[in-house]
Symmetry: C2
């Protein structure tokens, strides 16, 4: 069953290997886990619903708890401590767009707010209700999870927007197709959520971001139904599709999504290459993508991430042998691991691998074959479970991500890491920080940074640690040519920093868009755009 | 010198070969050219300017004439007949964004409208002033035509938005880079115009449409300056960049554009392949692009276009030999010519060509090498001059274009062609019609249709012919899953059909966007969105 207070299925309990634990202890000291609250205790706290009785609305306390929070670190702290503070007043799980419409009409009539809910995997507070006087209905799209149509000539698949990653792929795979969108949250996140939050998948180099995959569909809004026709391309004015992408539930609820699919590839393999240092590795990555080498993914870990991954993988004997081998080939301390994917026909894959290896020769990379790549592919969606294991050992883990142009990648990654690493120095508490480039573009790259610190003596103090790290680093990012989010979206957590990125007129354009569709501010208020009442500087982000 | 009443430089006078003329006569009968008006006669008609005296505003009649019309067929008829009906009241050619700002502030203060002007190559009435009581200032960006910065690490070039195609490429080429954006109008159209009208270049398969090339920049609006930062990608809400793309001067004037550039390729070649019939050719094109073959362009002429091109090329002896050769290889009447480009390193090009040839074998294509492809590349921007030659023989030529999903390409192309071909049957006047797919996508394709008919006895009757063909076909397109424009934009000519494509809520979103930036409706009114006062059904499209 899905965990009510953490990630994924509760039958999956990955253990942290002893080498990993030792590695962390050496770096940031020992830790003492905080006690978890029980579900029963939280159920007892849930206040009565303020919503009208309605056959489509479920007001059962456990259901409301299970739709109250996402997966950000403050969400974890709230769920583990039981300090939810606010719950939706009810949850609806409509089976079709008609029922979504009915609920929206009801919201307008009865005066409650609506939060659309996909897989509940937001790490930026997208689906957290605000703590105010207006009742909140969370509309989960989970029942709208079918492949409705597949046009193999135009390669367009139509899905219910609540279809989660595994059901997107299994329903397509049975017909010989793939969407090719694999975010880290793949196991639980949904197609509609990907569109609403402008998601990016690990193989975006081949398949594109969700912006390139989303072809059209249907959005139920408070002003009626918005239909976006599929067109391969158009010059007919600004693209309404692009206004839905990233709208985070503020203009309507996506009910049906048409996406561009691809026949399953003949071959796919993932390879690992190790570079002597960051400088060589980063230059190779930049030049590979700028040379348009036919890769389907590229991920480049910096030196600390490479070392951390080897430690957390366990198998000290194997790792030792590997390190010796790499040292012999010139890659010792400071080495950086690149994982890349090659996808296509047998002939295309053979050619691509030859091209990549030839290209990387001047960068003196050590090619490691497909063994470690296979392992990465097998575990690619398991990372969030590691958070659970670390938590049980008393370690809190969070990630921060951005993207910037190549000329700024090293500088910004350095700033982020230094700020996090020394961010708790006032408590004399080191933080373990490492990064990788997860998505590369000819113009620049995403930077994905993970930071681990021991929980404090209580939940409040732990939250304070997070808040300080998150806020100072977010400000650094937007003040130094980074986007506040490359792949997690804005939600409530990033909303304070959006104006710095978009500028005053850009914000006016977004406000204008939201107002066109939702003048009464009923849909997911506080997400994406902080509302006027919210400009006092108070943040609704964590409820604590 | 640039022609005041037609396309391009007046020193270029391509002749229509005898075979081409004979070919057209056989199909649509002989024609008698209409008499051209002289520039002097038009100068005499220009009314006094209603604008205030200002050092940045030029009210010289000839300058006003030269900025009054674009290059649509009704624009030609207006220019050739001298029936302009309306001229801008003045033209400014500011040297920098600061002067653009000054002019916008003046417009707000004094109450005149503003039309931004790039290369004046619109074929949809983008830059034509409305005939109403408000004075109009046309702001030409022509003096802002420099490469301002080139970041070779992030591969971002910054240009003045008025830089025309040849100056974009020559300034980049000198530094070893290319933008790779080659619309048919390349010789005269500008970077800012491409962005404002969501342009597509012939090699978009490799370089992308302008949506993919435009990275950020500066837009002067009536509410201040909108700065769009460069980011390789972002999930931080709807993309403001995408609101500028296709805004057609309605939200502001693009003054500086940052674009994604690429190092000049090692090799580039254009190849021709001939298929026995449309069905095989279209299937090959669809499957090639869906298989992600590494092509840099693909253009597929249907049978009538193939025959027409061979006739218009002249060289009857060569053509005869070619036809005999093709017939021997199974490609007789009904044959279709595909031109494709291959770009990259020597190794990549060799591999790509091998892949394409192997891929097309089951489609029984006859590969013709690079001779005809070289010729196409040499003449790729000369097509608009052919219009001049046809005009002098009494033939009017216009084009219509759209894009649709693959499952609808044949049907829609058929509808468009039949409607045009028989569109003047009430006058017992045949129309010569042919099409090609100019841009292919995995999801679908653009359809680019050319139609030629003899001018009528006078300008008014000729305009009526055009109007009937244009209006009935535009309605057919939007009622049958086509976009009203894949690459020409909306302007004033396509605005009546936009609501059918965008839907009521989509239109509300566009109106909301324009209102956010320009509540007083001063910037290019009537373009993109028909204004409220214009919903009577009157069209401002042709001024005649």
């Amino acid at each position: 069953m899905r965990r009510w207070n953490g990630w994924g299925d509760d039958s999956i309990q990955p253990e942290l290997p002893g080498t990993g634990l030792k590695f962390l202890k050496e770096r940031i000291g020992p830790a003492k886990p905080l006690p978890d609250t029980s579900l029963e205790d939280v159920i007892a706290q849930v206040p009565p619903s303020r919503l009208p009785d309605h056959p489509l609305i479920n007001t059962d306390p456990e259901t409301r708890i299970r739709h109250a929070r996402g997966q950000s670190l403050p969400d974890w702290l709230a769920m583990r401590s039981g300090q939810f503070q606010v719950f939706p007043d009810g949850v609806a799980q409509p089976e079709d767009a008609w029922r979504v419409r009915t609920l929206l009409d009801l919201a307008a009539e009865k005066g409650f707010n609506v939060i659309p809910y996909g897989g509940g995997t937001s790490v930026a507070g997208h689906i957290n209700p605000l703590d105010d006087d207006t009742p909140v209905l969370t509309i989960s799209l989970e029942q709208m999870n079918h492949l409705l149509d597949l046009d193999t000539e135009s390669q367009i698949a139509t899905f219910g927007a609540g279809t989660p990653g595994p059901l997107v792929e299994s329903q397509l795979r049975a017909r010989g197709y793939t969407l090719g969108h694999f975010p880290q949250s793949f196991e639980l996140s949904t197609l509609g959520g990907w569109i609403a939050s402008r998601s990016s998948g690990q193989q975006s180099l081949r398949y594109g971001r969700i912006e390139q995959l989303f072809a059209g569909g249907t959005v139920e809004t408070l002003r009626g139904t918005l239909n976006i026709p599929t067109l391969p391309a158009s010059s007919a004015g600004p693209d309404v599709r692009e206004m839905v992408l990233g709208s985070e539930g503020r203009i309507g609820i996506i009910t049906e999504a048409k996406v561009r699919v691809t026949p399953l590839p003949e071959r796919e393999s993932f390879h690992v290459m190790v570079f002597r240092n960051w400088h060589l590795a980063r230059e190779a990555a930049r030049r590979m993508v700028q040379a348009k080498l036919p890769l389907s993914m590229l991920r480049l870990s910096n030196a600390v991430e490479t070392t951390t991954q080897l430690a957390l993988a366990g198998h000290p004997l194997m790792t030792g042998l590997l390190e010796t081998y790499l040292k012999l080939h010139g890659a010792g301390d400071g080495k950086c691991m690149m994982t890349f994917g090659i996808t296509g026909t047998k002939r295309q894959c053979r050619f691509a691998l030859k091209e990549v290896r030839a290209f990387c020769k001047p960068f003196r990379a050590v090619y490691m074959g497909t063994g470690m790549g296979r392992k990465w592919a097998r575990k690619r969606f398991a990372m969030p479970y590691l958070r659970e294991s670390l938590w049980q050992q008393g370690y809190a883990v969070d990630t921060l991500e951005t993207a910037t142009d190549w000329d700024n990648v090293d500088y910004l990654m350095g700033l982020i890491e230094v700020n996090l690493r020394h961010g708790l120095s006032h408590e004399e508490q080191p933080v373990h920080v490492f990064s990788h480039l997860s998505h590369v573009y000819p113009q620049g790259s995403s930077i994905y940074t993970t930071y681990v610190f021991p929980v404090a003596a209580d939940y409040e103090a732990t939250h304070e640690r997070w808040k300080h790290l998150k806020e100072t680093t977010s400000a650094l990012i937007v003040n130094n040519r980074g986007t506040i989010s490359h792949q997690h979206g804005v939600g409530k957590d990033h909303a304070p920093w959006l104006p710095q990125e978009k500028g005053e007129l850009g914000m006016a354009a977004l406000h204008g868009l939201v107002t066109t569709f939702d003048p009464g501010n009923r849909l997911n208020p506080g997400t994406l755009l902080r509302d006027e009442t919210d400009s006092s500087g108070n943040d609704n982000r964590t409820g604590s």
